[in-house]
Subunit: 578 residues, 2 copies
């Protein structure tokens, strides 16, 4: 009976860092060999990072990628790993352009590929069939679809190798390779995480396994890349849909598993499917391995850890060593500070309290409190003497004067960032961004927005969860109770609270979910039971603040409809009917 | 001999403004009827504006569009225009989603359509076949491709009706409808202008005319929509490729022309092509019309007028009445002020000189000069007293102190904007944006960037041209000669000039054109004859400033590779090989 020992390398690539990404794969291959694996698979685009966006249309980038694949094969051989079959994801090209080039616009010249490396060379390469071109994905823009499927025969087992989106299409490549008699379906992925994704992805993997009575091995990359979070969560299920092995979320991991498919016919492949035989190392008889089966944590912990990963990787991959943010005593900045401290350690987080004459005593004391709980570096910079010269010289009143306060704070944070190289975090949540409840070039300044896709009501929920999580370990929660319970306020004028100008957050978040995430029209939102006038006002605010969002910092996408490349709407827009 | 009088309605729609856009079409139809036209055609998406982006994935928007098409047909009838055949562009849907919806991401549910309206109803509808999904276009994301072609038979002439991209593909819809014996090829378009586009588009139209020995009638929309400029330039050419009629650029226009094709067989259509007969009004015998044949102005005037159009339409379509900008005495702000004055009149332009202790005397006097030449509202706001409190309190030095000056100016402009509702213009050029030579949240603030896609060397050229243009009319040029000739400087420290930190602009713009527009790798840029160290430094600056560009204001795309949706690259990017 053939037994295949498969290793899934859940690596954390950085876009463009061909050398660093290759190092990760070599390290995984070494560990896999030590574990006696026959075959190692890393995720989609694991050599270049994902998504490479329009880099796929630069011939020089494609040439560098091709060179890097060949160098990786040679290096594996040189490091004594040449007998191991290693699957790595990368773009390939340049090929002849797919589309008539009607201007000098970029045109697809690359394919989204996975290659099998062995014996110091690239044994074979396959390309993704189905190119996602919705949500944040622009793959039809930058890639040419594949036109042939690949089966790799290892130890007498036909392993079908497909890429990400190809798993999702009914009747597509999966059906074809499984009909041809493959015994294992190996899928290499760069599949971004969003809340509740595990409720869709794992059942799909299980469905493909049971409908084809096959093992499905699913390897995903991990880590943050700009606004995308990759959770890893690589998994192997058997033909009954049972989880055989599962890697932890948010961490690099090598998942090793023994596969023993009952059927793998080895029969002649039909047209359009190519079979390639791969030799395997002679390990002799190995003891069966007990694979890791990680438990998925609760939804709020998944989200928290995802936000921590997104921030940590943005900081590290872009060469920062510290972050700075304003601590207002409010819930948003407290949660951002706690995420940053979990990501980097409190000693790499700089909090600045920037009180004005309108700041309440509690905003100052709550800011002190969060700084002390989290152990961040902390300073106080009152803004009164900075704001008054502007008010006086320009005779500012009303909103114009309020905004100067927010913008003076921005100047402080940016000034300190310029002095010491901190990355500035902007602490706005999704609800604020949706309705434009922020001062552009004021509280919106920064290079990264840790909670930009988290609605206000979810920010509170996360804060409570994080405190409970700490307390369950006998620790003090990082978020002051008062920051959670007090009414939110921008404190730009005396006695101001958010609910002076906005509907209660529970209602507001409900309307925004319907209008933005579910893309319902205003009438359909009203039909859900919301007040028509409130809906009209909220949707108008959303439409009118597109220009502000377009100038906002990036931050991790955690929902099915994040601002940024996920939701592409005009700024110039005069809605007649919503 | 059949004679067809065709009117091309070059309208200026606003995205979403179904009522206002319909008004434009009704007005054009009235004028067309007065001119005795049998058939009127407006541009692609003329009823909804273009591009509608993800609005195409909102069922409520599609329902509103469908309703608006029906109402437009009824209104034309009610206004006594029911016997006229009117072609209008609009999305249609919702249809069954095209792609498997793997998440709750938006999915294509609409088609990009043109309908023939007559007798108070929608007679027939056709959909675009080829969906551009490169450059700024995301049509494969939001539209389902058409699957049938349409020929409209009017006065015994088969008029083939196709949409924009379908004209560009060799062997596509054009070949099929012309083989079927159509006598006129009518193309409705929303074709964005870029510099030298007329050198591609008109020859293509002529090529399609001569290869099929047919009249080609090409109608385009006009005006600015966010970062896109539509120049109009609707044109009719005959089977010899000769221009029969041509509308002016950058203006709404009704182009009326008599077409008398020699062959239009009226034979049975093959599968996949539908013919619809359309009645025409009984005008009796009309005198032949002498169609307009506009001359295209010189390249620099086309560009200038395009920039003026882009600014004017952004202001008007978004409900602003005035703009404000900083006047530094430098070339960029002088050119932006002149564009704004040409777009809106000098009395709706507010210029602010914001000198610091490092500002030269000439920067102040040149700013005075440009304000006086253009007739803008003008004020002087020194920044010294605003900046010093920050420098003192935060102990800022070096770059951090320089940036505070730029950011204090931003606070002034935003404060005055908040007081009086002016749109803030940011005056950065493409060269600065490329290498990040600007202060984020400083000189980059604003809602619109008139010259963001204009390289510095072209800014100078435009300034010289604009002055010559004025002088040729016996007027004083709007740009002070000194602003054109003096060495550019940010004046953030004593004696600073741009060339302290950047290569000479002629060299820099050459490298940027190669690296950005032509997407060459660094080695290929060096092969053009540039110094390798300079190329390495410049490309590094370009890669590192992506985060700043992502937060920048929109501005008109005038090149084949503008920043924004035209060039999609990651922020987190560690280039190994360029």
């Amino acid at each position: 009976m053939p037994r295949l020992r498969l290793a899934l390398a859940q690596t954390n690539p950085t876009v463009g860092d061909l050398a660093g990404n290759a190092d990760q794969i070599v390290a995984a291959a070494k560990a896999a060999r030590e574990a006696g694996a026959d075959l190692v698979a890393a995720g989609e685009m694991s050599l270049t990072g994902y998504p490479i966006e329009d880099l796929a249309s630069r011939p020089s980038f494609l040439q560098a990628s091709r060179h890097a694949v060949e160098k990786l094969a040679e290096r594996l051989e040189a490091e004594g790993l040449g007998d191991l079959a290693v699957i790595v994801g990368h773009p390939d090209g340049p090929f002849e352009p797919r589309l008539l080039d009607t201007s000098n616009a970029p045109t697809a010249i690359a394919k989204n590929c996975a290659s099998v490396l062995q014996g110091g060379r690239v044994v074979t390469t396959t390309a993704k069939y189905h190119l996602p071109n919705y949500s944040v994905f622009d793959e039809y823009r930058v890639f040419i679809p594949g036109d042939e499927l690949l089966v790799v025969r290892v130890k007498g087992i036909d392993v079908a190798l497909i890429i990400c989106e190809d798993l999702w299409r009914d009747g597509g490549p999966v059906a074809r390779v499984m009909e041809a008699g493959a015994g294992v379906l190996l899928v290499v992925n760069a599949s971004p995480w969003i809340a509740d994704k595990d409720e869709v992805r794992l059942p799909l993997v299980q469905h493909r396994a049971t409908e084809n009575d096959t093992f499905v091995a699913y390897v995903n990359i991990v880590g943050g890349q700009d606004d995308l979070l990759f959770d890893g969560d690589s998994v192997v299920v058997d033909g009954a849909g049972t989880i055989v092995a599962r890697a932890p979320q948010w961490r690099e991991h090598l998942l090793v598993v023994d596969l023993d498919p009952e059927h793998s016919t080895g029969r002649t492949m039909p047209a359009g499917i190519r079979r390639v035989d791969v030799e395997t190392p002679a390990f002799g008889q190995l003891e069966p391995i007990a694979p890791d089966v990680a438990e998925l944590p609760d939804d709020r912990q998944q989200l928290w850890d995802g936000l921590v990963t997104g921030l940590r990787d943005y900081v590290q991959k872009n060469g920062f060593t510290s972050v700075i943010l304003g601590l207002s005593g409010g819930i948003d900045s407290a949660v951002c500070a706690a995420i940053a401290a979990d990501a980097l350690g409190g000693d790499r987080v700089y909090g600045v309290s920037m009180p004005s004459q309108w700041s309440s005593d509690h905003s100052r004391s709550d800011a002190d409190d969060v700084a002390e709980r989290i152990g961040v570096k902390y300073s106080v910079e009152p803004i009164r003497d900075l704001v008054e010269p502007f008010e006086r010289q320009l005779k500012l009143t009303g909103l114009a004067a309020e905004n100067v306060q927010a913008r003076a704070r921005a100047l402080i944070l940016m000034g300190l960032s310029n002095l010491d190289g901190h990355l500035v975090l902007t602490t706005g949540n999704k609800t604020e961004l949706s309705v434009g409840y922020s001062t552009i070039y004021g509280d919106s300044v920064g290079g990264f927005a840790p909670i930009k896709d988290v609605p206000k009501t979810m920010v509170w929920e996360l804060a409570r969860w994080r405190n409970e999580f700490a307390e369950a370990q006998g620790l003090r929660g990082p978020i002051p109770e008062n920051s959670i319970t007090k009414p939110p306020s921008a404190e730009l004028r005396p006695g101001q609270v958010d609910q002076d100008t906005l509907p209660p957050y529970e209602i507001l978040d409900g309307i925004l979910d319907a209008y933005i995430t579910k893309a319902l029209g205003a009438a359909d939102v009203v039909a859900l039971g919301y007040d028509a006038e409130v809906v009209a006002e909220v949707t108008k605010l959303v439409d009118r603040s597109e220009w502000k969002r377009r100038q906002g910092a990036i931050g991790p996408k955690i929902s099915g409809m994040a601002f940024g490349r996920d939701r592409r709407l005009p700024i110039t827009y005069r809605p007649t009917v919503l």
